[in-house]
Amino acid sequence: MKSLIRIKAIMLKELRQLSRDRLTFAMVVMIPLIQLVLFGFAINTEIRNIPVGLVDSSQTYHSRLLTESVKATQVVKFGHYYQTAEQAKQAIQTGEIKAALIIPADFEQRLAQNRALAQWMVNGSDSILSATILGLQRMPFIPDYKTRNLPNQGKTFEVTLFYNPSRKASINIVPGLLGVILTMTMVLFTSIAIVRERERGNLELLITTPVSPLELMIAKIIPYIFVGLLQVIIILGLGHLLFSVPINGSLIQIFLGSLLFIAASLTLGLIISTLAQTQLQAMQMTIFIILPSILLSGFMFPYEGMPILAQWIAEVLPATHFMRMIRGIVLRGADLIDLWHDSLWLASFTILGILVAAKRFKKSLD
């Protein structure tokens, strides 16, 4: 009971300080905002006017109609025309065009037989770009009354991806970004939390009071959980509004998953806070967490492709587990039970971390 009063007192104090510290408060809102906009535009899937080539071996009214329909989507811009598919392929290889539309000579026959009408050849090394062209795959094409009662059941186009047929990432970036932003802000905030009290001289007073280390640690973490959830809402909400990020999984699962990761990140920061002597040191140590969290967690490079050693390091970082987890939830609609390995790991990390931090935090100045 008394413990609760104390925890509440520290939490309230923490929130008050946070609301008066404009810079930190700005970080809460600005980091997700700026990152989202920066990354958001970089991963903009609404790509328009991709320079493409055209090989029309059919040269019929319908083939021109198809070309016009594709043009009307504004996704691509036909700037180059080739005689053969081989020439187009060459152009892709040299980087002249990103993709080429190949309309075969038997186009009219395919139209009548309701088969795929034409083929896209795409430079698939850019996964966002290939995703965009793949989006055209099922573009409806109903040339006239004759075929209207025979709606195009299958694909309008066949798509051939060159260089990167498995088409990684793109959608993976969005939930991944959630992990990166949360790592950055959560670890940073709490890593400073205790050090700041030490630097400002508050700690010397605080440790002569009956506050226990565990009470202090828990009270330091809880306010930032709300900050973290606020960021999740900002990121996913804005991501959905501005960049039409699909949110397939259940919101409760996303919320709970984020909660686990936020708690783990905060704990990590708290441990740093008990190690560092100054705020600067805390910042520096935080960078050691943030960098591998961005590079090794699977956010930038697929986890499976990394060397074993890097995988081991990645396995220690909460961010790695979160990436796996949140992608599972958002993309495959999985839940925390399916991903029990990662959920359990994050939960254990949090509990263990708080205990370590409380143990490391001595109520003395020795």
Binding site: M1, K2, I5, R6, K8, A9, I10, L12, K13, R16, Q17, R20, D21, R200, G201, N202, L203, E204, L205, L206, I207, T208, T209, P210, V211, K363, S364, L365, D366
Partner: protein, 308 residues
Amino acid sequence: MTELAIKADKISKKFGQFTAIENISLRINKGSIYGFLGPNGCGKSTTIRTLTGLLSPTSGDIEVLGLKIPEDADKLRFKIGYMTQKFSLYEDLTVEENLKFIGNIFALGKKELQERCQEQLATYGLNHLKNQIVSGMSGGQKQRLGLACATMHKPELLFLDEPTSAVDPENRRDFWEKLFDLSEAGTTILVATHYMDEAERCHKLAIMESGQMRADDTPEALMAQMGVNIVEIKTPGLRKLKLKLMEQDEVRSAAQLGVRLRVLIYQSIKKPVQWLLSNFPELEYAELEQVRPTLEDVFVAVTGKGRQ
């Protein structure tokens, strides 16, 4: 027999090679104001931190309010108030928020907290500053808030580490009035200072130098026991005279105060004025007067042995 608030026997604290305090023994009566007087770096803060359990002593035994320190430091925390040298409350909270925070940390009940807040605000003249953010306040105001917070839970024992170092003399006097009120109400107060006038107000005093206790008694007794007589000389050519006097074995020290020279002469000389006149013919026309010792003389007499 009066009860002891603090009993310390031969405590020492070493930081690596450096000995911060050495063989400090203390007996502090309940309800008294006890002073630590000494220059910066003499070990006052270390002693206080050791007594509160913030530092564990390298050797020695400590008993504070009947509790073994550092073993029972957790229990002690409910009974003591501590004002650090540097202002240690939250600069970005208001006066009232700070008070309530400390009250909650000591888990005061809701009603008690409210009452205590009102009381403290009134006692320490902070009512009109209630909603003021601390960072904008003056040194004197901050220090009043510091004391208000330190006494929020009515501690039996109050540790004050150079509480008035950032405060003007007037505020310092007011501050001491509050301390006397607390002492009157039964609080034991231990205060570290390097101001003579503050030290003189203490019931008992320890003079510290480089980690050691040089003297420990009431200010009056210290002045009486110091073993020197003091003569003030008013004459031209004081600088030269000072050098000459310092060469004498009978002279403990000499310090110039404006147009006068304050000379401390060992009590082996029974009549210091006559001794001066007979040994220094140039003083024939000077004004000589034997004066009452001050605490500063005591301080000079017991410390600085290795300095001159």
